[in-house]
């Protein structure tokens, strides 16, 4: 290590450290970058939510203008979905796919790096719209004709199209990589029915993205053409059809909600057996439930469109499929409860979040099934009831699950334990805050408060519950602060975590904490879906690493970064001057060429 007096050496060490991260193809480093980026956007998006709640705290609020309010609620959703929850999911996927299936890296390490850098460039394009003439302001689902050049004059929606296409490209590449890795790189003995449930959910999520992203890409391209190249796909005056946008968008959008929730279901399916000291109840049932959610998820999209006049028969069909998809979801909930039943439960912070996930997700699930009825749905359409529903599913579900995962895997990823006392404080404050924020929205919705209004008059009976919701949202903010302090204090402790502190059964706990660059010295034998527990019972010991162990790792590469810069420039060009597209294409071509000729051994 360079000493303080050796200034030049320090700078060089810093530079090589940065270069190491910029060119890394290690799935753990890429996962870490996804996690940090995703959490940063989670904080920014949370701040926009606080601004929205501040505006709505009292009638006739004047914190935000109507224009800014529209941008904030649109970007709050876009950032939470595409820049926070999905990347935080991708962070765990990256980090734990190879570790849980007993591989040394993902199938395509450089493609993995490329996915991250393309994600970063797409996210920066979308986010920069705030400073370049206004963010998208037509809701995250961007219904036509609000998105048409006539009603949305600024370039916000062009940022929406280009940003989401680039982010979709990144997700597609990442998902292809994950799917191939899980299908094809499992450790010897790890059959599909011995995969950890988290890996099953990752596989289902990957296929959902692979099969639904192309649909929204087509829709976004058409919207971009409508706004820039004089087509009229979605403008009714000239023969276009705004309902077509809704179909294409929700054909992607409904699978997307499973993309957001299934990773958290997977995390909870790992956490609950470990802290109940009991194998997961009904492994096969939970796997098949997850897979059938994936398939059925493509057959329910029009439940978002009951009020568009689908016709009686289509409304009945989509009502039935939507109720049907509640069944596998219910199966999972009973599996988790049965796992806990009769177990000797350890109430760690991770377990708190997992149990809260089950409860909150059940509330969100039930209010979701209510909307399978077209009659109820027509009543609730565009009211705060729907806002309450999605936040019980996405905050109470997805975010709680992610926090459960953070507390569970932190010692594996960093070698340090997050403080349990502080963790439980952040849990209880978050739990109280989220229920205070979102439960009153059910009442607001039923008493008729519409979504997406930037202010409201007094005298509708909405004042008190709005105030409660705002107080709740600040409590959530406090809980996140407590968590951040916890993280910073933890990272100053020495790394002392043992290999398997929770006595967990899956392979990621069979290597050191944090894992070495090559993940495993020797991959343990796999004889069941809970290899470490089974191996202990059967007395199977993982052999010691041989002397002079040498494991060949793929070399780092800066080509992914170059290619991502090229893709980013193409995006910027589509938003500014077409000449930049040319430069972007040239850089990308160089990246692809360099990629294909550089040695990989």
């Amino acid at each position: 290590m360079a000493t303080a007096t050796d200034g030049v050496g320090t700078v060089q060490a810093e530079q090589s450290k940065v270069w190491e991260w910029l060119t890394t193809v290690d799935h753990k480093k890429i996962g870490t970058m996804y996690g940090i980026t995703g959490f940063t956007y989670f904080l920014i998006s949370g701040l926009t939510a606080l601004a929205i709640r501040t505006q709505l705290a009292v009638p006739n609020g004047n914190v935000l203008s109507a224009e800014l309010y529209n941008q904030f609620f649109t970007m709050h959703a876009l950032m939470m979905i595409f820049l926070a929850i999905m990347p935080m999911g991708a962070s765990f996927f990256n980090y734990f796919i190879p570790l849980q299936i007993g591989a040394r890296d993902v199938a395509f390490p450089r493609l993995n790096a490329l996915s991250y850098w393309v994600f970063l460039s797409g996210s920066l394009i979308l986010f920069s719209s705030f400073f370049l003439g206004g963010a998208p302001d037509a809701g995250w689902f961007a219904y036509a004709p609000l998105t048409d050049a006539k009603y949305s004059v600024g370039s916000g929606l062009d940022f929406y199209c280009v940003g989401l296409i680039i982010l979709g490209l990144s997700s597609l590449m990442a998902s292809l990589n994950f799917a191939v890795t899980i299908l094809n790189m499992r450790a010897p003995g790890m059959t599909m029915m011995r995969l950890p449930v988290y890996m099953w959910m990752t596989l289902v999520v990957s296929f959902l993205l692979i099969l639904s992203l192309p649909i929204v890409t087509v829709a976004l391209v058409m919207l971009y053409f409508d706004r820039n190249f004089t087509t009229n796909f979605f403008t009714p005056e000239t023969g276009g059809d705004p309902i077509l946008w809704q179909h294409l968008f929700w054909l992607f959008g409904h699978p997307e909600v499973y993309v957001l929730i299934l990773p958290s279901m997977g995390i909870v399916s790992e956490v609950i057996p470990v802290f109940s000291r009991k194998p997961l109840f009904g492994y096969a049932a939970i796997v098949f439930a997850g897979a059938s959610i994936g398939v059925l998820g493509f057959g329910v999209w029009a439940h978002h469109m009951f009020t568009t006049g689908l016709g009686t028969v289509p409304a009945l069909v989509f009502s039935a499929t939507t109720m049907g998809i509640g069944v596998p979801t219910g199966v999972k909930i009973f599996n988790w409860l049965s796992t806990m039943y009769g177990g000797s439960i350890r109430f760690t912070t991770s377990m708190y979040f997992a149990v809260a996930f089950i409860a909150m997700f059940t509330i969100g699930g039930i209010s979701g099934v209510m909307h399978a009825s077209p009659a109820v749905d027509s009543q609730h359409q565009d009211t705060y009831f729907v806002v309450a529903h999605i936040h019980y599913v996405l905050f109470g579900g997805a975010i709680m699950g992610i926090f459960s995962g953070i507390f569970y895997w932190w010692p594996k990823m960093t070698g340090r334990f997050l403080s349990e006392i502080s963790g439980k404080w952040s849990f209880w404050v978050m739990f109280a805050g989220m229920n205070l924020t979102f439960f009153p929205m059910h009442f607001l919705g039923v008493s008729g408060m519409p979504r997406r209004i930037y202010t409201y008059d007094e005298g509708f009976g909405w004042d008190d519950w709005n105030m409660v919701a705002t107080i709740g949202s600040y409590l959530i903010g406090v809980s996140i602060l407590i968590f951040l302090i916890n993280v910073f204090r933890t990272m100053r402790q020495p790394a002392t975590a043992p290999d398997n502190p929770w006595d967990a059964p899956t392979l990621e706990w069979a290597t050191s904490s944090p894992p070495p660059e090559h993940d495993f010295d020797v991959v343990p034998e796999v004889h069941s879906s809970m290899p470490l527990w089974t191996n202990r019972e059967m007395g199977i010991v993982t052999p010691e690493a041989p002397e002079g162990l040498h494991i060949h790792l793929p070399p780092s590469s800066y080509m992914p970064l170059i290619l991502a810069i090229g893709v980013g420039l193409i995006g910027v060009g589509l938003l500014s001057h077409l000449a930049l597209v040319g430069i972007g294409v040239a850089i990308s071509t160089y990246g692809v060429w360099g990629w294909s000729i550089e040695p990989t051994d």
Binding site: A103, R104, D105, V106, A107, F108, P109, R110, L111, L172, L176, N177, A179, V180, L183, N184, M185, R186, P188, M190, I210, L211, S212, L213, P214, I215, T217, V218, A219, V221, M222, F225, F229, T230, T231, N232, F233, T238, G239, G240, D241, L244, L248, L251, I551, H552, L553, P554, W593, S596, I597, T600, D601
Partner: protein, 198 residues
Amino acid sequence: MSAATHETEHHTSLGVDNRKLLMWIFLASECLFFGSLLSTYLIFKGESLSGPGTDIFAFEITSISTFVLLMSSLSMVLAVYGAQHGQLGLMKLMLLCTILLGLVFLGFQVYEFKTFASEGLTLSTNQFGASFYILTGFHGCHVGVGVLYLSSLLISSVRRNGIGKETPLYIDIGGLYWHFVDIVWIVLFTVVYLIPAY
């Protein structure tokens, strides 16, 4: 893009190569891409408030270009055959053939678009025009990408070090992409050009 370690290069869980698996999953994804474009076209098919409709199609030209693309699939499969049987001369010749046929197809498409535009069908004329151009245009883009892809395979197989012992695999995977673009056209030709508007 080789597998991470030496062990996994030779052993995979499904017994198939990672890269080939990646291509097949990607092609499954592409089905949804063209499915969405085709849905859009079919929804708007009868809707032309102004300007030309499907009667603008010139069957002679499209039939020839369809035949050209079909033959490129044949030459592609012969290139794969050459690679798999060690006949590298045949492989290179057939790759070149495929690339040229792909370029001819693109030429026909450019000619077709120009003719239609001169007859008054543009992106903004009507729904038929917009959805037709975007559907066949994206197919054309795929042909273009395929031409570049196969050219890079050809160039690297001509270079002295070549693509080495994995040549058959690389050509095979490139062929999968090319054939997929061809089957998309098989569907588009029938649904867009042959089945009359009603």
